[in-house]
Symmetry: D4
Subunit: 250 residues, 8 copies
């Protein structure tokens, strides 16, 4: 806690401890007071609007406990990712929770009003990429973004993508999600003039090798402005997209 | 030789050898007489219009020898693939050889008149894919095809490709050649309604992994009608394209 | 829709909208009117004779719905690929569906009369490759092709393959399907003088690595005229074979 | 060209061509007039301040020609990436070019004044990552960004990184470049609250496998806000960082 | 059948068919008569003493059918490999079958008397390699070999192996089977002066990568006289060992 | 047995066997008498304080049998690793066994008093790495070590790790266990001045590739004093840590 | 040395040392006296007829020295493998050495008379596999085998292979060497009824991946009696073939 | 510097700065004063006896400069690793440097007296592993260890290794270095009862895959007490071995 360092410095000033003792304490616990992360939250993140809980590997009791603690702390929007339907049912008994089955996401409170620079477009190559896309979309919405969904616009049917040129040209950030068709990121990257976050998915069979093919394809994109996150990492893409969409001078 | 089997049968008829002896001979050398391939030619192929010699690993003397044998045999068009410039110079001293440096191909005689069903389009993602593309294009030309070259139409700049929709829509076969941008095959496969032969190239760096990324990407193409040949195998693609472009009832 | 562009041009002519407005609209929605693909169909393909529905990831209700829409549209032959037996039973309750268990394919209507240039030969290395082979064979049949099945003709027992030389020599296109024995494509490629589409299968154990071994082996085939599709992609091979077998001048 | 569509629409209006003819033309060449990209430029990009030429695979004559065309076009800042020292010398004979040897980058004109939201921090794990870092840094500078370099702050000597907490906390975007130490991206991602672009480098030996180890490590980063570009792709990272640092409402 | 060729030759001799007709027939069906393989048998093998049926993918009815056909044909020893316990129970209802659970092998008849040059030693690195070892051992026994089992003699406890030096020194062929400890093949190869057949197994976890580690390790053995078969291929090793142990002049 | 060699030498001395006979016997059974390993124990290890049984692949009867044999032999502490809960229940019926569910370890007797040089720190990147960590920790405790657990101190939240600098600085050996965050080993290796044993875990998804990413990352650690064991090999790390923590002059 | 053990036993008998001292000595140096291998020879092998020296990494002086030592020891045939032409020239100055450039092998003395059971057939898929084949062939000849060379009989031109059925049917052992066409081993394995040693070569390009494709293909051979050695390991194959061809009762 | 924190605390005490200012400063530069590492040294290490400079990527001027700075600082033993012979010659002009060509290591001063607990044994599988072994050995010697070299004791000639049982049994730490023969680590790990550090080398060809085979093999060692460092990382192994050999209570 910040109060710890303050206390220490006050003790030094008042002579309660020697300078040498204070020096030792400070060297050994340098970050104890930083407090910008919280142990129980999704990979230790916090970004104003919403709190995110990583549901995988947590029991429904633990999830309920964390949500209640947050609510007491006046947190208005809470997102729980990677939560099975079973856990959602259990948690929903004592908490007012909306559950999004496709995305395996639970929401407490309402999506906040969008506060970002512009719109985030979430595009998928096929319909089987939708669960990952919804994880990205709901994450972005919970973090205060206006989200446009363009699903099933894979490059093998280019006209479906081109029908949405207006969305693509007016996006602030685009999340391009595709399994076999890693090509989607390259094509969108070439059409758009905003950052494109590519998410390979483990969808596909044979030489798709659980997402490896899409991953390599996306990393090799010749379009500028494209970067890649881990296979199936919808949350990471949604979070980064929100971060970029909220850029402001420090 | 066919004459061998004939001879054997005549010997049987005339009683020169017994049925049992003939039976043994036939079992042991069943294919001796088929003669549809030739040892010194490019992977044993022959297709009317032109002969193709695989130049890699052959000395200029050997290449010259084979060409001369073919010429005596009234072969009018001869293509030598994977031939270094040095060898071409050497062979050119005694043979009337046109050398195509990019494609590392030598040509004896003139390209024959196109006899195929329609046109073969050869498209590349970038300019560095051109050597492989030229190997494909010249092979197809030497085998009697009308070839249209669409180079540097990679998907990161989609308009360049779409500018050539007419070529794509009117092609009989398309060869899609790309390194990092394996996406080209998917996009073309989705636009065209003819067979697409995808050739991954070893162009690129980092996670391109010597063509592996493009190869996997092409194998996973969601577009129908796409198949893949080995990395950098321009000859194979050109040959297959010609074969398809000359389909006829047997 | 085509009517959209026409309408726009009429508006320009009649002065309803300015040239500048029309220009903008056209740039932003260039393909809106092409309509050569249909969202709900198998990777957006259509080829006269039959419609193909990709069954994986669709509920039996969705499949039934699409089939009924097609039937109303006077579509006479409909193929549903990658459909589990359960779904087939469910769909069969309200639709007249023949189910092919091996191939996991459902058929509405009858196979059309063959209209191709010649015959398509489907060959497999072993008996465990048959499900993939049947997917290829039924696809080709539904698209109007005469199909010859040569199953279990793997190269470790060469005589079984050579017993069928006549089929191989008279084929228009050959689909060579093999798991551990990727060799089949090379051997057939060397014997035949028509295009060979190689399909690696995930059959095998140990160093077969889920089809990777067969895939690499087929890509490295020294025979000319051989190309490769994704592991287990029987549909893709059957579709491409049909496309080649229906080649004609445009 | 835009004038093409305009002309077409005028022809429709004036009755020079029929509506049907215009409709066909529009369908076949939808993008001919978009002109947001230029064939000869670095992956077809353009972003106000500077033009970028991809030098690899271009002769010094070609590079000189493109530069001169740009200069005539009043382009004030031109960056040439992946240019060998030899070519730089050659180009420098007729063009006023500053050459940055480490980054293999040539610059015509002066770096523009920074116009971004904040600062871009470029951090490397070791000294051997510096060439890639300089490619990123100079690209970002040429595109109008204030760049802070933190080199050799690998995680095996954490204090070196922590000594620069102030830079990290005040960055708008961070580019984290590392070979063996892919860990750098995770650690910085955990410390910073801005987007982090991770660039794996091919530095290292043995199980570094030409950058594969760092690539996988970065993709698996548990920190939020981290995305990855291709191995050694300093330009891509610098370009994307600039894009994010210039975010504004559309 | 042989009788076919004989018949043909007789027809030629008697003038029933012309030489040309016979020539054509012979070219088209060259191997029809060779008969050295049988379709229903294990990869088409046959080696005097025993017949082997590959049980995987065959129903118990099929297996029973084949066994009965063989028995009628006076085959005295029949081995069924890769047979589940369920199938064995089923087959055992109508056939006198001994089932070896570990090896998943069924035996009809008795093991023949050993007829080989010497003894075949089957060694394993651990106890979990025993199922593969038993497949090898029983195969070898069924083919007429004297088999010595040395199980759990992995190199991490070298004395266990060295305790059996006499067996190793007196072996005709050694089959070295190991998972994580691919080292076994090298060590045995260095100690023995007979052919060593190495079988990697998929035993192990983590970086064992399903047998890949052991496979690579065995291929890199520095000992002479070592060769490798597929992961878990006990049958293949036992069959080859028997073949070597029955070497004789032809 | 040792008595064997002694007996042999006595026989030589007494003239019961000739020198030549003894020589032969000695050459053929050189290690028969070494007896430093025991067949039924965990990879043949033994280290004073405790015996370790590798539970995987052993029945509960076998485990019970071995434990009883050890108890009769006055062994006071016995650890059973990789034991399922079912087996533990079964074994617990006749043996006084404490079962640690997370670590899948059973303990007979009490943990001995620590006898090592200092403390062993077991650190994990996340909470999902805890089962592997507990395997390491309990193994080390059973072998007589003082163990400090630092769980969930992954590098994406660096302050959690730095909060425990005192533990890290005072450790004798550190075991760093991490899945996606292979970075942990590098960071700890840079902070600590004692041997660090890195254990990659198969935790994670996508490009974590079952632990491969963490494994490569750890092998490439730039920190000195870091070495790596197999993926998920908690036992191996705990055993090695104990060995190092008990170093003494021989 | 054997004399050491003898000496020890004599000392025991004569009472020069105690039984306990002897026991200790014997336990610590068990193999000191075995002497079946020689440090400077090719992987410690020796097989009657010829000695083999592994030339790679040895200077021409070292090679000359070893040869002279062997000659003094009355060794009549000496083979030096992996020897560059330069070294051969140098060694040839003082030693009567025949050099085989293709195989990079040097021979002192004459090839011995064949003493094996039958003939060893060495077959290659293409002409580029010949260097590896010659290493195998000359090794086998130097070890006393009758060798038949069948080069360039790859499966893409099956008739070339079938033309040599007689050689294949009468072989004692076959070495099948192929790069891209790993298929050769399967096809030969299916035709022959003798052991087949498969050697993948690093010949080929693209997806041949330096021999990996051929290696996997050969390991997956469905033919019985096939085993595999390391990529390009001609010596190993020739040595093993000779071992099998000299099988005899012990 | 420590003086910085002291100064700050004194300023707080004396009221020169406010508690709040001090708090901020301390949070932002927590580690500025730790000083346990030095930027220019080998991966920031320091261990009493010797300083180590990582020579790769440093000019001879830089190396000379660092050495001189160290000498002025009274450093008596300095090791320069990964230094080419050229640089050594250059550095040697102004500094008294012994150069070890095999290990590519330069030494200033004399090796210190051994101070470790016992002996470090460095063992290699073959002679080509010696450069890596010498890097390990000289590093260990420079850090004050008694080193025993056991070179060319690969497991294919087990007697060579067993001849040195006494060395192995009496070692404090063993470094096992091997390329193709990754088996060495397992065998030594099974024989010894001390920590074994395994170093895979990139020696070998074909399926050795630049050290990958040995790396996997070593990670899968069934022997306890074995851990692995990066391919060819002799320095890392020597450093870790020294660290273990100097274990003492803190």
């Amino acid at each position: 806690m910040n109060s710890d360092i303050k206390k220490l410095l006050q003790d030094v000033k008042s002579g309660n401890i020697t300078i040498e003792e204070a020096e030792l304490k400070l060297k050994m616990k340098p970050y104890e007071d930083m407090d910008y992360a919280k142990l129980d939250l999704h990979r230790g993140i916090r970004q104003g609007v919403a709190e995110v809980i990583y549901g995988a590997g947590k029991t429904s009791e633990q999830i309920t406990g964390i949500i209640n603690a947050m609510l007491k702390n006046n947190q208005e929007v809470i997102l729980v990712t990677r939560m099975s339907e079973d856990k959602a049912l259990e948690v929903g008994k004592s908490v007012d929770l909306k559950y999004f089955k496709d995305a395996r996401i639970g929401l407490v409170g309402d999506f906040p009003k969008p506060t970002g620079i512009g719109k985030i477009v979430i595009a998928t190559g096929g319909t089987s990429d939708i669960p990952v896309a919804e994880e990205a979309a709901l994450t972005a919405q919970a973090l205060g973004n206006d989200v446009v969904r363009l699903y099933d616009v894979g490059v093998a049917g280019l006209h479906r993508l081109l029908d949405h040129m207006e969305d693509i040209m007016s996006a602030s950030v685009i999340v391009a999600i595709a399994g076999m068709e890693g090509a989607l990121a390259s094509v969108i990257g070439g059409l758009a003039d905003c950052p494109v976050i590519a998410v390979p998915t483990s969808v596909g069979y044979g030489a798709a090798f659980e997402g490896l093919s899409a991953l390599l394809s996306m990393l090799n994109s010749c379009a500028s402005g494209v970067s890649v996150v881990n296979i199936d990492n919808g949350f990471g893409a949604g979070y980064l997209a929100s971060m970029i969409n909220h850029m402001e001078a420090k």
